[in-house]
């Protein structure tokens, strides 16, 4: 079976000023299969946001190609949904209207079936009774659930999540991790999940990509062979700490090498 997402020898440079170029990413190669959950971990400044812009089609790589369903990405496509670091909901719209916003923004109007589908999504993320409230009345975790529902409204095959729980407190963050797994099991998607948290990566993903600091590249691709469905007991699984240690070693070795 063909991979859903494929990075072929992707490198990217930014022109910081007329003479200087900043190498953000070098020679990135990986693929993601259908309904696979892939996490990306790495220290700050490893080019995760560049990766995000490339995979969503907001930018094209300087070298190499990003393919989705075997076709090179040149521009954004509806098959890719994005969940941002902060929920960034529109404060003047109700929760329901925030979920249907992508349709409104793309077509100028929202059909009544779409509204029904939005309600189904709100039910999926556990917020159907908040549909007519304003985002300001919701907690940070709830707002991010709305963000997830908004990313799902266009029925994307691929979901890109950019450190979606990093703005939440530790407790909500853990709850949202399990919630995401539940949603993913009910509504299987191909997920690329960017995070700073090693534990979060091991808990959620089928495969973890470790990135090195600038210029960012994938230094390790670690399959996580933990049973699904995952829940609280997964955290106590004997192999959980083992995987987390491998990842930690990879991240900090690279750091140590740089400091020498």
């Amino acid at each position: 079976m063909k991979p859903f997402v494929c990075f072929n020898k992707v490198s990217h440079q930014y022109q910081s000023n007329t003479t200087h170029k900043v190498q953000a990413l070098t020679d990135i190669n990986f693929h993601i299969n259908k309904h696979e959950f892939v996490a990306v971990v790495g220290p700050s400044g490893c080019g995760k946001s560049t990766l995000l812009k490339l995979i969503t089609g907001l930018m094209s790589p300087s070298e190499g190609s990003v393919e989705i369903f075997g076709k090179t990405m040149h521009e954004p496509r509806n098959e890719v949904g994005i969940v941002f670091q902060k929920p960034t909901l529109l404060p003047w719209l109700s929760v329901l209207d925030n979920v249907t916003f992508p349709l409104k923004h793309q077509h100028g109007k929202v059909a009544s079936e779409a509204k029904q589908y939005a309600m189904t999504l709100l039910k999926l993320v556990g917020l159907e009774q908040f549909a007519h409230q304003r985002p300001a009345q919701l907690s940070g975790g709830m707002q991010q659930r709305v963000g997830i529902a908004r990313a799902l409204i266009l029925k994307p095959e691929i979901l890109i999540m950019d450190e979606p729980f990093s703005a939440l407190d530790a407790l909500s963050r853990e709850i949202m991790g399990f919630e995401l797994l539940r949603i993913w099991e009910e509504e299987p998607k191909t997920v690329l999940f960017i995070t700073h948290s090693i534990n979060e990566a091991v808990l959620l993903a089928d495969k973890v990509l470790v990135m090195s600091p600038r210029p960012g590249t994938v230094v390790e691709e670690l399959p996580i062979d933990l049973p699904r469905p995952r829940n609280n007991t997964t955290l106590k699984h004997e192999k959980f700490a083992y995987y987390a240690d491998i990842l930690r070693d990879h991240i900090f070795q690279k750091h140590a090498a740089l400091n020498e």
């Binding site: 089609g57 907001l58 941002f84 529109l90 003047w92 992508p102 923004h105």
Partner: protein, 255 residues
């Protein structure tokens, strides 16, 4: 403190000022041409025909409100253009600063010469004095839109028009209202300046007319009218925001 009392405290404080003012002027024997007592001002107010008051009042409100609306009409599209095009931003902004920093009082006589003696120069003067805060606040508001939302818009391939209308513009609403609140108080100042320069009615004209005939209490009465109009117009902007854009108010003001 009692809730109703708390609510009307500002107005009670103002009312309490009146007897105090009366008393001090009476005891210190302040002459009317320096600071007339409230009772003298009231007499002066009664002595002028009601229709005349209304005529002057209406002339000033009309110029202030029309000039203000005109400046909104110019400012908002200008702000949108300046946000969308860095070229226009770089070229227009210095020009706006120059216009803003030139004293309107100095331009006013020129505008009368250029635009004639009708209502046009008065509207132009009011507009000139009010549009700057509105342009600046709208531009700032539109630029403060979170970059994620612009990414979202781009990932949806939304048109520039929808990006402005559905995202940037609503995001600027709290800022726009700050600009409008500053603008509306300036609008009254603009209207009065324009009446100082060339008018045959309006409260600004009436103040000038009264002082030149040494009718100081009458000028004070007109002055009070100006303050009241200013307050009412300012309140109107707040009401509009509270009724139509309640979400844009800080949480403690939304109740």
């Amino acid at each position: 403190m009692n809730k109703a009392l708390h609510r009307y405290l500002p107005i009670l404080a103002l009312l309490a000022l009146i007897p105090l003012w009366e008393l001090i002027c009476y005891l210190a024997n302040v002459p009317n041409y320096i600071l007339p007592r409230p009772s003298v001002i009231y007499d002066a107010f009664i002595n002028v025909d009601k229709m005349r008051w209304l005529e002057h009042l209406w002339a000033t409100v009309r110029v202030a409100v029309l000039g203000f609306l005109l400046s909104i009409f110019i400012s908002l599209p200008l702000a949108v253009l300046m946000v969308q095009s860095s070229f226009l931003n770089r070229t227009l902004f210095p020009l706006l600063v120059i216009i803003q920093s030139t004293p309107v009082v100095a331009i006013a006589p020129l505008l009368i010469v250029i635009l004639g003696a009708g209502e046009a120069p008065r509207l132009a003067i009011t507009c000139l004095i009010t549009f700057f805060p509105i342009v600046v606040s709208t531009t700032t508001g539109m630029l403060s839109t979170p970059s994620e939302l612009i990414d979202l818009s781009r990932s949806l391939k939304g048109s520039v028009f929808r990006q402005i209308w559905q995202i940037r513009f609503p995001f600027a609403i709290p800022h726009i209202f700050s600009g409008l609140k500053v603008g509306i108080t300036l609008a009254i100042i603009g209207a009065v300046i324009s009446e100082f320069v060339a008018a045959e009615k309006g409260l600004g004209y009436f103040v000038q007319f009264s002082t030149s005939y040494f009718k100081i209490p009458q000028a004070f009465a007109a002055l009070l009218f100006l303050s009241i109009i200013s307050l009412l117009l300012f309140q109107t902007i707040r009401w509009i925001q509270a009724i139509f854009f309640a979400w844009s108010l800080p949480a403690e003001e939304q109740k």
